[in-house]
Amino acid sequence: MAEKRLGSCRDIPGRTREYETIFILKPDVTNDVIGQVNTKIRHVVEAGGGQLLKVENWGRRKLAYEVKKQLKGIYVFFNYLGNAGLVEEVERNLHLTDTVIRYYSVKADENVDAATKTSAVTDETFANASVPGPDEEAIATGQAGARPFGDEEEEGAFDFEEAVFGKVDEPIRRGS
């Protein structure tokens, strides 16, 4: 475990920070391996004094560009509370894991009162996170529902295409 280190001056004693970590696993790993990685990260978070808020598996998705020779990957999303040094430890562990091809952490909030946050992670939801969601092909052919993020149907109520790109063609030509 990482040494307890000082946080930022902005930190209020007794409050924590909220972090989000997304990591991408190789597309051909089995559910057992996903479960092992998830359990490992969960232990790291809990051993570092953090609290898991949410764990999601976004399923096997196409990557926007090639990452470590892979064009697809399994996205796993962790949302947790923690203090300074915890993210370093989580990322160090992800870095050491061979099946993880990319990881990225974001500070979602700071000076969070841990008592106000409720954890959505139970043993059942945690176990579900080791099962990748439906493939993109299955969603495209209508065999499965949409994912929590990344599908434009989510924003179907608002026609962004028209709002943003309604008259965009002409100005772009003018500008170039």
Binding site: I24, A64, Y65, Y104, G150, E152, V164, R174
Partner: protein, 90 residues
């Protein structure tokens, strides 16, 4: 979507080229339910060109605050391969 009276104003300009005088309102200021999230690639894709570059806010009508948020969100989405850095057409 263009309002007729504004179109007339465009036509009234003599000489030179027509100016697009319509002022777009920032979508994120007008709609409170809409939030900018780096995980929501489906929303962010409307703010990048087909080459993967950011669309300037003079075209999208975003306010400065939300354009910064969009830029930050797109950068983050690029890091986790939800969005491309560049589309080369290969």
């Amino acid at each position: 979507m263009a309002r007729p009276e504004e179109k007339d104003a465009d036509l009234e300009q003599e000489g030179g080229r027509k100016k697009n005088s319509r002022r777009r309102a920032c979508k994120f200021c007008t709609d409170e339910n809409l939030s900018i999230d780096y995980k929501n690639a489906g929303l962010l894709k409307y703010f990048i060109t087909d080459r993967g570059k950011l669309v300037p806010r003079r075209l999208t009508g975003n306010c400065a605050k939300h354009q910064r948020a969009i830029a930050r969100a797109v950068s983050r989405a690029r890091m986790i391969a939800l969005m491309p850095f560049a589309v080369t057409g290969k």
